[in-house]
């Protein structure tokens, strides 16, 4: 089982403390909501959890069945949806997916693409013909969900995944997050949306102390 442990973790930027000290844990098969007001460090928490950021003090440990994971081994098990995650504007959405999934050694045939796009509510025509830069923010968010699902990762780090999505899109996010947790995926959601908070099995409230 995948676990992430924060031990006395603090994060400072330019000498200003953003987060912590924090002791907490997340585990596979559960949806953990990271909550707190804007600017409290929810996105920073997710980046620390995925080792995209190293803490100013303390340690974040990610283990799979007790074995610590770092570097490439860890990175290949993570998928994310984050506002700052951007696709290549000058590639079509399909080219973006082919490229990113190809880097993970995944190759989808047309049938699998059809099923994936159906799952996230994107039109195959738009995905093959439109540049990612021409997508609306909502469609872009669905594309991020498509990449997340196709990556078959064991750790999902979701930063406001329902942002810019309509009711159907938000329901899709909730459905997929629950299904992933049931498969044993560790799902962490940074959110303030009541609908996403309602999904959570556990909460990590960040209060700045």
């Amino acid at each position: 089982m995948i676990e992430i442990k924060f031990a006395a973790v603090s994060q400072c930027f330019h000498g200003r403390k953003i987060l912590g000290p924090l002791d907490c844990g997340l585990c596979g098969g559960r949806i953990t909501a990271v909550t707190g007001r804007n600017g409290i460090g929810k996105s920073t928490f997710l980046k620390l959890a995925g080792h995209f950021l190293m803490p100013s003090s303390g340690k974040v440990t990610v283990t799979s069945d007790g074995m610590e994971m770092r570097g490439e081994v860890l990175r290949r098990r993570i998928a994310m949806v984050m506002p700052e995650l951007r696709f290549y504007d000058r590639l079509t959405a399909r080219e973006n997916l082919d490229f990113l999934l190809g880097l993970r050694g995944r190759r989808l045939d047309d049938e699998e693409y059809g099923a994936l796009l159906d799952q996230v509510g994107l039109s195959p025509k738009a995905v093959s013909r439109s540049y990612a830069g021409e997508f609306s923010t909502g469609m872009g968010q669905r594309l991020k969900m498509a990449a997340l699902l196709a990556a078959e990762a064991e750790i999902w780090l979701l930063d406001e995944p329902g942002a810019n999505l309509d009711a159907d899109g938000q329901a899709m996010v909730a459905r997929e997050a629950r299904a992933a947790a049931e498969r044993g995926v560790l799902v962490a959601i940074a959110t303030n949306a009541p609908g996403e908070e309602a999904l959570a099995d556990e909460f990590i409230p960040l209060d700045g102390h």
Binding site: M54, R75, L85, R86, L100, G105
Partner: protein, 223 residues
């Protein structure tokens, strides 16, 4: 080389080529810089000829600064476009490094193919040893591509970016740059050939590629 590494390198290289072809600004700036510099010097010479050493230095200055304008911008462009995060999330270190390095090499090789004939026409130069000239160009641009790719990645990670790349690039590339200038001058008829330089350049290129490969993991995975 294992197949997944090679597949990853091909993916990154194809992505760079596709985007480069669709958004030609970097290519155009690089080629226009080279063309303008050659044309200006040629006009200033008013039909006169540069000495082989001066001509060689001019050629390598053009290649060096053109690489700064276009070929070595791989990571800076990713950073500016906000796509570095997605590349870090999905891409492993080595395919990204070598994919970008190969792209930089390809672009510089294209630049050399473009400016070398113009150089001979506009500067009135003549290659006495064409084989050495071509080999020197290839080894030189390989060194610039290897050093440039690693340093560009380093510069993107640094908090103070302004000018860092250029400041770091010159000392790292000098062991390639100086023998390249000497050899080019000799290939243009400016003295007897010192072929040992070729071996030295090849060795340094290899060291740069291996060093970049070892260091890049630390840049890509911050843990």
């Amino acid at each position: 080389m294992n197949s997944s590494l090679w597949t990853g390198i091909k993916l990154v290289l194809c992505k760079e080529l596709t985007m480069g072809l669709r958004f030609k600004a970097a290519w155009a700036s690089m080629f226009m810089f080279a063309l303008t510099t050659l044309a200006c010097v040629s006009l200033a010479m008013q039909g006169g000829q540069l000495e082989p050493k001066m001509a060689a230095a001019l050629l390598w200055m053009i290649i060096f600064f053109a690489s700064m304008v276009g070929a070595d911008r791989g990571f800076a462009d990713e950073d500016a476009a906000g796509t570095l995060m997605v590349l870090k999330l999905y891409g492993s270190a080595q395919p990204v490094l070598f994919g970008k390095m190969l792209y930089s090499f390809f672009l510089l090789a294209m630049l050399v193919l473009f400016i070398a004939p113009l150089f001979f026409v506009l500067m009135g130069a003549e290659a006495v040893f064409p084989g050495v000239f071509v080999l020197t160009l290839l080894l030189g641009v390989a060194g610039i591509a290897a050093a440039g790719t690693l340093l560009a990645a380093l510069a993107v990670g640094a908090r103070v970016k302004n000018g860092l790349f250029a400041v770091l690039m010159l000392p790292v590339i000098l062991p390639v740059f100086l023998p390249a200038i000497f050899l080019t001058a000799e290939a243009l008829g400016g003295g007897s050939l010192s072929l040992n330089y070729l071996g030295g350049m090849a060795l340094y290129d290899g060291l740069l590629a291996v060093g970049a490969s070892v260091l890049f993991d630390y840049l890509w995975y911050e843990d």
